[in-house]
């Protein structure tokens, strides 16, 4: 049975640690002059992107290519997808091409789950709607572990549009699995109604949480939220929930500042924070390749996947 990585909840603690340990070894490859391993020679990885996301696509592409996989980029623009071909028909096309792994980015929550029921290969969720983005959470955890040495008991504060953020969902789940202590901070309008069922604390007051944080992760404010009365004005949002130099000064000495990108400088994060030594934003990009290499290797490298979850066919 094929296994997939669709939700951060698909990873047990052992799975998650295996991914992080593997990523740690694979990070060395990026420092070598020959940044390539033969591991996935002859394997085909399809990048199926229904949303523009150059950063995520090239990160997966670099990861697959460093493992010597054949990479096929299938983007919604300029393909039959934009002509209205259904996801199911696209899945059948991928089957005919013999894709061993499908990396999918899709605006609809649950699309990777549906796809997993229709294809033989392993599906990797590269962001689905407002659901999850598990490899982002893995690279974030990897970055935290490298900077802080470990995640057990670490206090991680995730700030911003938790309601619509796939990054927040995946991070809350994975960080809980790894033993971190997560607090989400947002205006009440941007917190899901049933957030009390999540394995995290909730706060509406950023200043109260910052002094106790080892990690602050700032989420991007999407433009479409700005005119939908989730908050009165961008200025007010920025004043109450943005991370500026003064707020950063409240953080403990060792604390780090993360952002999944792309940033709205001056909205959720001030330029002086984004460019400070606490900021891991550039590292996150490099670590993304290592974390995705680890996921690709563990799902596709052996006779059967070593991590992930099964999805029943339909």
């Amino acid at each position: 049975m094929k296994r997939h990585l669709i939700s951060a909840a698909d990873l047990s603690k052992d799975d998650a640690l295996l991914v992080l340990d593997t990523a740690e070894e694979l990070a060395q490859v990026s420092d070598r002059s020959i940044k390539k391993l033969p591991t996935l020679r002859g394997r085909t990885v399809v990048n199926l992107f229904y949303e523009d996301s150059t950063r995520t696509r090239i990160s997966f592409e670099a990861a697959a290519k460093r493992l010597s996989a054949d990479v096929i980029n299938f983007s919604a623009k300029g393909s039959s997808v934009s002509k209205g071909e259904s996801l199911k028909d696209t899945a059948l096309t991928l089957e005919a091409m013999g894709a061993d792994g499908v990396v999918i980015r899709h605006p609809a929550s649950g699309a990777p789950h549906r796809l997993a029921g229709w294809v033989q290969g392993s599906v990797i969720n590269a962001g689905d709607g407002t659901h999850e983005h598990p490899t982002q959470a893995l690279l974030d955890a990897f970055t935290m572990r490298r900077r802080l040495g470990g995640l057990e008991g670490r206090k991680v504060t995730i700030v911003g549009d938790v309601l619509h953020s796939r990054v927040a969902r995946s991070n809350v789940l994975l960080l809980d699995t790894l033993g971190a202590d997560v607090t989400v901070v947002a205006p009440p309008t941007l917190v899901p109604v049933a957030v009390d069922t999540w394995p995290c604390r909730v706060s509406y007051d950023l200043d109260a949480v910052l002094p106790k944080s080892d990690v602050v992760m700032m989420l991007r404010v999407q433009h479409e939220r700005m005119n939908a009365s989730y908050f009165p004005t961008v200025r007010e949002y920025s004043r109450r929930y943005g991370l500026d130099g003064d707020r950063m000064a409240q953080l403990p000495e060792h604390a780090i500042v993360m952002h999944p990108g792309p940033m709205n400088r001056g909205v959720e994060i001030a330029a002086e924070v984004a460019d400070s030594v606490r900021s891991t934003i550039v590292e996150q990009v490099a670590n993304g390749v290592s974390a995705r290499m680890a996921v690709l290797y563990l799902l596709l490298g052996g006779s059967e996947p070593a991590i992930g979850k099964e999805v029943s066919g339909k």
């Binding site: 199911k88 649950g110 699309a111 549906r114 709607g129 969902r169 899901p192 049933a194 069922t197």
Partner: protein, 429 residues
């Protein structure tokens, strides 16, 4: 209509075995040891006899979406489910908002002959919620429309709703409201709660239904009109309806079979076979709905049978059509949810699935007691077998049943429409 049948040994509303003699489309006699020369005997040993079921809420899709269902295919499915009358919802293409369209649907039903088809008229033109449709013309037409609904859309404008409630009093009509506050449910995909938060889907909050029901019961009381609430789905709605009834408000309500059996954890599969409007709610809501149906707060079961072609469901959840078919599984689901749980007996099922909906729809020849003099609209049901629901075995043109693979009890053995079997020995006639 002169064929004479003797139904032998049926348990009428689950009572002691009795025989039913059918003559000239009516029930001639009910008793024991009945015999008649030349009559065809229907052995009904162990079967429950129910009055022919009446559905207040059926989407037959014709005219406009004959690829999903037609009046003929939908009424065949209805007969297989034990129904002798269905109310065909107005959201067809064109919309059933004129006498012409409702008469067409009514006539198609008559021609098919499997089940009475009572068209529901749209409340507003094009179900756009802005101007009243010609409600009187539809009421006066050959289709004699008494139930009006913009189902699929809420009559959200309070003034339009008030006018509609008032206007239909002239012909003893009822407005069946699809209670959904539109602004609170923009882009909504599923029940708002723990599951929607985990699955990252836009939530359809219970309050969006309850706020409209609260407003409408107050309006109905104010203008002294009949209000019917379609597909009640939340515990909060039940509370509001219970309160309104206690005040003497003329409100009736329906619940669908799927809301009696399934909850929102089904969405975890991301399979849009479980996507429906209003959405599947929580297990607590399911429990509240069952008890409300048992105590009469909710008057009846209505299927909201909503056929969709395969391609409308074999998609990502967000782009999939809402709705599920239900005519052929309704009685089985009600048995599972209400009889097996001892919440209702068969007399209660007869009330919630035949007497009450016929009363709400003001149907004279349906929902009559199984006694001499009544039209012979009879459903014979075997409650004993349990089997997995097989979508491929459906009579409906569509296959979008959320109960696929689920083991459910019971089987409709025969359906008589005014003395003529539409289903016999479990097979369509």
């Amino acid at each position: 209509m002169s064929t004479t049948y003797i139904i032998k040994g049926a348990r009428i509303l689950g009572g002691e075995p009795a025989d039913i003699a059918i003559r000239d489309g009516g029930i001639a006699e009910v008793g024991t040891g009945l015999a008649a020369a030349g009559a065809q005997v229907v052995e009904a040993d162990g079967l429950v006899a129910l009055p022919g079921l009446v559905d207040l809420h059926t989407h037959l899709r014709e005219p406009g979406r004959e690829d999903a269902e037609t009046v003929e295919s939908g009424t065949r499915a209805a007969a297989m489910g034990g129904y002798t009358a269905v109310h065909a919802m107005a959201n067809t293409d064109p919309v059933a908002d004129t006498a012409g369209v409702v008469e067409q649907v009514w006539r198609l039903g008559r021609e098919a002959g499997y089940c009475d088809v009572h068209p529901v008229g749209a409340v507003t033109r094009g179900i756009a919620g802005e101007r009243l449709a010609e409600l009187g013309a539809m009421a006066d037409s050959a289709a004699r429309v008494r139930v009006f609904s913009d189902d699929g859309h809420c009559v959200s404008d309070a003034v339009i709703m008030r006018r509609a409630l008032e206007y239909v009093k002239a012909f003893d009509g009822v407005v069946a409201q699809h209670a959904q506050e539109p602004r609170l449910t923009e882009g909504a995909q599923m029940n708002e709660g723990e599951m929607s938060a985990a699955l990252g889907m836009r939530g359809w909050p219970a309050v969006a239904e309850e706020a409209i029901i609260a407003r409408d019961v107050l309006l109905a009381e104010h203008v002294g009109s009949r209000l019917h609430v379609c597909h009640v789905s939340t515990a909060g709605s039940v509370e509001i309806i219970r309160w309104a009834k206690s005040k003497g408000c003329q409100v009736t309500a329906e619940v669908t079979p799927h809301h009696l059996l399934l909850d929102d954890t089904r969405a975890g599969s991301y399979d849009p076979i479980f996507k429906v409007n209003p959405p599947l709610r929580t297990a607590d809501d399911v429990t509240a709905l069952r008890h409300a149906l048992a105590d009469g707060t909710i008057d009846c079961v209505a299927t909201d049978h909503a056929p969709h072609p395969v391609e409308a469901k074999e998609t990502e959840w967000a782009v999939a059509a809402m709705g599920m078919i239900g005519l052929e599984t309704a009685l089985a689901v009600v048995q599972e949810a209400m009889i097996e749980t001892d919440l209702l007996d068969w007399a209660g099922v007869a009330d919630r699935m035949s007497f009450a909906p016929a009363r709400i729809g003001r149907l004279s020849g349906q929902g009559r007691p199984l006694e001499a003099g009544s039209p012979a609209n009879i459903t014979l049901y075997d409650p004993s077998p349990r089997r997995a629901v097989d979508p491929a075995a459906m009579t409906s043109k569509s296959r979008n049943t959320p109960f696929a693979g689920l083991e459910l009890p019971g089987r409709v053995i025969a359906t008589f429409l005014r003395g003529t079997p539409t289903v016999l020995e479990g097979k369509l006639q």
